[in-house]
């Protein structure tokens, strides 16, 4: 069951995704504005989701897919909160 995809393919893909995470880290450190850092953090979240999925393919279990969903939701909510903070208004709208 775990031998469907050769593990060399999974290793190479994990390496590529780790390289992508390093580039995002560079943008978080050197980023002239807060928006740059927020976008890089969200992309890093997506990279971590990809890494978790690849590792769960290697182990052959569906346990870790809930973690993927949770990281996606939290990443999106964090991005929206930082955007509202930069925009300068209230984070929680009261007058709807």
């Amino acid at each position: 069951m775990t031998g469907i995809v050769p593990s060399l393919v999974l290793d190479i893909c994990l390496g590529i995704v780790s390289l992508a995470l390093l580039f995002c880290l560079y943008r978080i450190i050197v980023g002239p504005s807060a928006a740059d850092r927020a976008v890089a953090a969200d992309t890093m979240g997506v990279g971590v989701m990809a890494a978790i999925s690849l590792y769960s393919l290697r182990l052959g279990t569906t346990e870790y897919l809930s973690a993927v969903l949770v990281i996606a939701i939290l990443g999106f909510v964090g991005l929206v909160i930082v955007a509202k903070f930069i925009y300068g208004g209230d984070i929680i709208d009261r007058y709807r």
Partner: protein, 120 residues
Amino acid sequence: MGVILLTGIGSVVIAVIISFLLFLGSIFILVGSIGLVRFPDIYCRLHAATKGATLGMMSIMLASIIFFYVAGLGFSARNLLVIVFIMLTNPVGAHMIAKASYHYDVELWTGSISDEWGGQ
């Protein structure tokens, strides 16, 4: 519904499809990150990061659905949920960051051609 196609040529075809989708997804995420580093302006970086991350993740999740179906572990609906969620929410997040940056007066790149908005 179990290990259906894992005999002979079928297993090779399935392995090739899953590997191709995994490679495609990883390379798209890498290209999105390289775009984050190379592009000169926050708005251009949003283009690269959002599109790359969205499609890369969708690709990897599709490969995961096929893998878990062929391996006999059932149709994992959580993957489908992640695909739908990412496709709906990544563009919205990118739009909010772009709008907030423009109001915070982050300058467009000096090579920009036209700015018909003019700031409000």
